[in-house]
Symmetry: C2
Subunit: 463 residues, 2 copies
């Protein structure tokens, strides 16, 4: 495509995105297609000859949009948010335009140094240990694709440390609470662990460190090797917060790698009044949170820190001859290739820098606090209505409740609310099997009137 | 940022990208900064208060661009290309604007179905087995971030198959040629394999299947369990092509998972006259190639197919309660969450669809053939000059040669050529330690005059 066409279509698509974001609220949140509809609307085979770009773009409105579930809809209360922002979208545009591949410092110093910088900024913004700053500490941060990748990477580093110390992979054990994200089990399985323990939780769904300590001791007595534990700050089910300091006590006593999965709630640590929830974080070995969930930064963008980068790099560094010439021998110019499984990498930090500078720390704090205020307001309404019962505290932006008439009534309510197309909620299950509703407040455009509208729906549809 | 500002800055940044691409040829290919320069040019701490977007954008020209190594420069002959196109950049813009997370079919059917479709298109375009089409076959394709991820995933599936059959991880062995990409060793190590064999190559740097067969037999005799073999189509060093059919014979005889890493050269299979190079591909278990290398599609975009998707899904599926409601039970509506390590995923297939439809198969073939023609033209010039010696055949777009005066002269030539700033080359080493120059022709804008200019530099600087 000639660059003049790129300008013209680019302007057109910027306006298309702006129009989309301006009007997304009027669309049903969930896609309206049946399986196969999108595919059936597109050419069955790739064309031999070029199609006009007009024809390709026409399919955006005709075929693609009906097949979109609108994560950027302000009535998005499902899962966790994947909120974005105009600034972040523009960051993606620039990154795509530059088209660099930052596997080594030398293959685009700006990609590496901006990533170093914004991850160091975040250490301070989230109240994490300053020794995790790459410029001063033995630690350091890297952007991964997802928290699943971060967790998996932590598992691999922990495993290699244990194997180097003489343990057999088949004897290594990973621990997390029964409410940890599925990525812990998946990451551990992918890393080859045969033993993954789901530790029982207390009445607020947080890991019970005494149960952990007993499980670790029992495994040791059985000749197994406790290797890694994952504390979750903000579980996916109910945003429960595992007691990081107590878990760290167990981990340190037994030489176990301690990873914190703060995928969702890490963003909230930008608010000093919430940092007591990560008390003990200076004792852990690695930590991940996803700016792509609640920090207005487009998916994908997961921040991962290790307290000591040498263990990470020694596990993941393989230096072939075709990279040797350009590889950095310097501590200032790190080669991020050695910080994760893939070799190549996009310039992902640019969008995050755009967001952090454009919002400012106060701007992000403001929006996070507002989301939490909206969530708590909804939880108070639910608590005051005899048809509903809260099933968990509301430390962040997630409200968890059930219908007092039982699981069928709860499921019927979720289905009825979703069927309106105006909002989207998801259901989940407590450890005891009770079905409950998750209301996750955190989409960029969600304000009071959207939560009010949700409440009106719950009120009218709950029977 | 208000949407009106997004429109204004969006138009401005589209023009900025167009200007960048129009003028990149005038820039030195390599970044001109010293370690730390980029970081020092940016705020040491994240701002508390919002910065103006003008200030943020001003840093693009002032700080970021000097720190960019220009992969989109038509004088880019280093590594392999990571070529892009205006169409692909626009696909990234739309994908970022929609901001969907396609972990499940239901969380954006279009993201899943477009990915199904374009990967099925590619099966036909590249002459891969039609049973790999997800719509008809037991196989199927998925987009991963990089070929490293694809290789690692194949290793994990192979490992789990062996473990389910009763093998111990500690006894499993992975094989590839000594010229395979470092991601094979890395992926195998990350997956927990303790035994990774580098099989000797023949005089054109391709895996010797007899050596492989002997190594497998020796390992079996030693009580080890041969588990996976990776054939490379287009090695990173010299684009050597392993004999897929012969390797498949060994793999099938011993029940070994056979993965083909066609990261770079897979794109060339769109040309029927080159498909003899993947003879036997219908016998393998998995295959990966990177549209983000040579198919005009922005990084990241790696296509990965398995011959039987059930083995992949059974290895990677973990279904927690908060996803159960929305998960698909249908073969038409697959949940890509179960096809790779991460849970979340971007709408990455959109840019690939934009490229395939805008170029058409003939358009891509034209450019690939042109790159190969340019590479062969350069190789003929080198072959005709007594100062140079080719060190490998030129099946694709990579020319490998050395200075006849030896390694020092070769290295000096690379340094001198790179120092001009007009082109960028990389050096590597043959199995015997000989240093050689890699000239990779494949950047989107590279045409005859750029290769002529490179030749003029080589001619004048070779002494």
């Amino acid at each position: 495509m000639p660059l003049d066409d790129f300008r013209r279509y680019g302007h057109q698509l910027v306006d298309w995105v702006a129009d989309y974001l301006a009007t997304v609220e009027r669309r049903p949140v969930l896609a309206t297609v049946a399986p196969g509809d999108v595919r059936a609307g597109l050419p069955a085979r790739a064309p031999d000859r070029p199609e006009s770009f007009e024809a390709v773009l026409a399919d955006l409105d005709r075929v693609i949009l009906p097949g979109i579930t609108h994560w950027q809809h302000p009535g998005w209360f499902a899962y966790f948010p994947a909120n974005s922002s105009p600034e972040s979208i523009l960051g993606e545009l620039v990154s795509a335009g530059l088209g660099v591949q930052g596997m080594l410092w030398s293959t685009s110093p700006a990609a590496t140094e901006v990533e170093n910088l914004v991850l160091d900024w975040l250490v301070d913004l989230l109240g994490l240990p300053s020794s995790w700053r790459i410029d001063t500490g033995p630690g350091g941060g890297v952007l991964q694709m997802s928290a699943s990748d971060s967790t998996h990477t932590a598992m691999v580093v922990a495993r290699e440390r244990a194997v180097r110390a003489g343990a057999e992979i088949g004897r290594l054990v990973v621990y997390s609470s029964s409410q940890a994200h599925s990525s812990v089990e998946k990451g551990a399985r992918v890393a080859g662990f045969g033993h993954v323990r789901a530790i029982a939780v207390d009445e607020v769904h947080a890991m019970d460190p005494l149960v952990l300590a007993h499980a670790v001791q029992r495994d040791r007595d059985d000749g197994l090797v406790p290797c890694a534990v994952v504390s979750t700050m903000g579980t996916t089910g109910t945003t429960a917060v595992d007691p990081v300091r107590s878990v760290a006590g167990v981990a340190q006593a037994h030489g176990i790698w301690h990873h914190v999965d703060a995928a969702y709630a890490g963003t909230a640590m930008i608010c000093p009044e919430l940092r007591h929830l990560q008390d003990g974080v200076e004792l852990v070995d690695s930590y991940a949170f996803n700016p792509h969930k609640w920090m207005f930064t487009n998916f994908d963008c997961s921040a991962f820190w290790v307290a000591d980068r040498r263990e990470l790099i020694s596990t993941l560094s393989v230096l072939p001859p075709y990279l040797r010439e350009a590889a950095s021998q310097s501590d200032v110019a790190v080669d991020y290739r050695d910080w994760h499984v893939p070799l190549g990498r996009r310039f992902r930090s640019l969008k995050l820098m755009f967001v952090l500078r454009s919002y400012g720390a106060e701007g992000i704090r403001h929006h996070v606090r507002e989301h939490i205020r909206l969530a708590r307001g909804l939880s108070e309404r639910l608590a005051g209505d005899p048809r509903f019962a809260l099933v968990a505290p509301v430390p962040f932006g997630l409200v968890c409740f059930r219908h007092v008439d039982g699981d069928d009534a709860t499921r019927a309510l979720v289905a009825a609310v979703n069927a309106t197309g105006r909002v989207h909620l998801t259901a989940s299950e407590l450890p005891d099997g009770t079905t409950f509703v998750r209301v996750s407040v955190g989409q960029t455009g969600t304000v009071q009137r959207h939560v009010d509208a949700l409440w009106a729906l719950l009120d009218s549809l709950a029977g």
